[in-house]
C-alpha cells in the first residue's frame, strides 16, 4: 500500500538530521533532539525511515566498489560537453533544478512551503495516495490533501495537477477544488490548471467525465473525455477538443504541433526560473516537435537551429527569443 506523502519541508529537515548523524560528530544533546523530532510527528518518523535507506545506495554494492577501478569510474563518471550527441547530458541537469527547492524565492514560495505537496519551478512530481489516486504535479504547483471519513478533497492552490482517480475502498467521494470551481470526477483521468487566483481554471479530461460546479451558480456542467474547458466566475466556457499535447509534461516534454512560438515560449517559461520572453516580431512563427522540459538550454539551441530566431541573454535569468540578426 502506498505511503502517505512527505512534505518537502519535512524531507529537508530529515535530510539535515540524517546528514548530521553521518558526520561522526553528533553530540548527545543533538541525538536527544533528533529523538524528540522523530517522535513529535508521524510524518517526521516516516521521513526518517526513508533516510535510513539512503546509505544502501552504495553499501549494497560495497563489494563491487571494493574494486578501485570500479570506484574510480563511479567517482569520475561525468557527462562532458562536446559533440552534438552529448548535449543529451543536459537531460541530467536536475541538480540545478533541485537547487530551486532550497533557495526558491517565487511569489508562491511561502504558500508552496505550507502546501501538502508542492513543486518548485522546473520540478515535477508523481505521487500515489493511500486510496490509489495518482497525482502528477507540474512545475511550480501546490496542492493540499484533505481526506476525512466522509470525503476526499484535493485542493489546487496554484499550478497544474493531473489526476488519475483511485477507487476508494471506503466509497468516499472525491472532490477537486480550485479558486474557481469544484470538480467531481466520475471515474476519470483529468488535468486541472490554475495559475493564480483570478486567472480562471483550465480543465482537460483524458478519460471518464468530470462534473463542474462554480460557486454561486446553481447548475453543474459535465465535461466529457477528450474535451477541455475554461472555468471562471461566469461558468464553463470554451469547451472544445483537448489539445493532444496538453499533458505531455507528465512525460517531461512539451509536444508542439504547429504551435505559435509565443505560446511555446510561454509554456517553456513556466518550467524555467527567471524571465523568458518572446519578441512579438517572431510570435507567429510555427513550431513542431517534442522538447525535453528538463533541458531549456537544449531547447534554445533547437529553436535557433530550426527557426529564423536568435536567443538574446541580458542576464542568465533574463532571456528573450528575438528575430535572427542579419549577417
Amino acid at each position: 500500500m502506498p505511503e502517505a506523502p512527505i512534505s518537502p519541508r519535512v524531507r529537508d529537515q530529515a535530510l539535515a538530521w540524517f546528514s548530521l548523524t553521518q558526520s561522526g560528530d553528533i553530540s548527545e544533546a543533538e541525538l536527544q533532539q533528533l529523538q524528540r523530532w522523530r517522535q513529535s510527528d508521524s510524518e517526521h518518523e516516516r521521513a526518517w525511515q526513508r533516510m535510513a535507506q539512503l546509505p544502501g545506495v552504495l553499501r549494497n554494492h560495497a563489494r563491487v566498489l571494493d574494486n578501485p577501478v570500479a570506484r574510480g569510474a563511479l567517482q569520475q563518471t561525468r557527462y562532458v560537453s562536446g559533440d552534438r550527441r552529448q548535449v543529451l547530458k543536459l537531460l541530467f541537469g536536475v541538480g540545478v533544478l533541485g537547487a530551486a527547492a532550497w533557495h526558491g524565492k517565487d511569489s508562491h514560495w511561502v504558500q508552496g512551503e505550507l502546501a501538502d505537496l508542492a513543486t518548485a519551478t522546473g520540478q515535477r512530481l508523481h505521487r500515489t495516495l493511500a486510496d490509489g489516486t495518482q497525482l502528477w504535479l507540474n512545475t511550480a504547483s501546490a496542492v493540499d490533501l484533505r481526506f476525512s471519513d466522509s470525503e476526499r478533497r484535493i485542493v489546487l492552490r496554484f499550478g497544474e495537477v493531473d489526476i488519475l482517480t483511485g477507487h476508494d475502498p471506503a466509497g468516499r467521494p472525491l472532490w477537486v477544488q480550485t479558486p474557481d470551481a469544484l470538480l467531481q470526477p466520475l471515474g476519470t483521468r483529468f488535468c486541472v490548471r490554475c495559475d493564480e487566483a483570478g486567472s480562471g481554471t483550465r480543465l482537460s479530461v483524458s478519460s471518464g467525465r468530470v462534473s463542474v460546479s462554480v460557486p454561486g451558480r446553481p447548475e453543474t456542467q459535465v465535461v466529457e473525455a477528450g474535451s477541455q474547458a475554461f472555468i471562471d466566475a461566469r461558468g464553463v466556457s470554451q469547451v472544445g477538443p483537448m489539445d493532444p499535447g496538453a499533458t505531455a509534461w507528465i512525460d517531461g516534454f512539451i509536444v508542439a504541433e504547429r504551435m505559435r512560438l509565443a505560446d511555446f515560449v510561454a509554456q517553456l517559461a513556466r518550467h524555467r526560473r527567471g524571465i523568458l520572453r518572446c519578441d512579438p516580431a517572431v510570435a507567429e512563427l510555427r513550431l513542431t516537435g517534442s522538447f525535453p522540459l528538463d533541458d531549456p538550454e537544449r531547447i534554445f539551441s533547437q529553436l535557433v537551429d530550426s527557426l529564423p530566431v536568435g536567443v538574446q541573454r541580458r542576464t542568465r535569468y533574463w532571456v528573450t527569443v528575438v528575430p535572427r540578426q542579419a549577417g
Binding site: 569510474a73 569520475q76 561525468r78
Partner: protein, 169 residues
C-alpha cells in the same frame, strides 16, 4: 468479436504507423542510423514487455518518444560509465582486466548506481564515497581533501538529497 484486436495486433499497428517516424526521431538525436535502428526496436520490445494497452493512445508519438527517450538516457549514462571505467583502468596499469562478461555486469551495476547519483560532480561523489564506503567523519574528509567542514557538509547534504529524490520522488 470482429474489430477487437489483440495486444500484439495493436502493437503491430503502432509499429507499422510510427516505426519510421520513431527511427527518424532517434536518428536526429543520435546522428547514426544503425544505433537509431537498434533503439527503435528496443522501444517496441519494451512496449511489448510492459503490456500496457496501446490501442487508444491519445498521443502515440509522444508515448513512443517518451519511451525512446528513457532508452536514450540509459544508453547515454552507460556510455559515460564505460568511458569513466576505461579511463580509470588506464590510470591503473597494474589493475587486472576483467573478463568481458564480468566487465559487462560491473558496468551494469555502476550504471545503476550512477543513475541514483546523477548530476553529482566528481568532487561531491568523492566526498560521498569517503563518508559512506570508508566511514570517514566529515572532519577527516575535510582534512584529507583540504576543504572546510562546512563544504563537506554541503556536499553530503546534496548527495543525500539526490539519493532521496532518486529513490522516492
Amino acid at each position: 468479436m470482429g474489430t477487437h484486436n489483440s495486444f500484439e495486433q495493436d502493437v503491430e499497428v503502432l509499429y507499422l504507423q510510427h516505426h519510421g517516424w520513431l527511427k527518424g526521431w532517434l536518428q536526429r538525436r543520435l546522428g547514426e542510423a544503425a544505433d537509431a535502428d537498434d533503439l527503435a526496436q528496443d522501444t517496441f520490445v519494451r512496449i511489448i514487455r510492459a503490456r500496457s494497452p496501446v490501442a487508444e493512445l491519445k498521443q502515440p508519438l509522444a508515448y513512443l518518444a517518451t519511451i525512446a527517450n528513457s532508452l536514450l538516457v540509459n544508453r547515454w549514462r552507460r556510455l559515460a560509465v564505460e568511458r569513466a571505467y576505461a579511463e580509470a583502468l588506464a590510470a591503473q596499469p597494474e589493475a587486472v582486466e576483467l573478463s568481458a562478461e564480468a566487465r559487462y555486469l560491473l558496468i551494469e551495476t555502476l550504471t545503476e548506481i550512477d543513475a541514483v547519483l546523477h548530476g553529482l560532480s566528481p568532487r561531491v561523489r568523492e566526498i560521498f564515497l569517503l563518508s559512506q564506503l570508508d566511514g570517514l567523519t566529515y572532519k577527516q574528509i575535510a582534512a584529507q581533501l583540504g576543504l572546510s567542514v562546512n563544504q563537506v557538509q554541503k556536499a553530503m547534504l546534496k548527495a543525500f538529497s539526490r539519493c532521496y529524490a532518486s529513490l522516492f520522488e
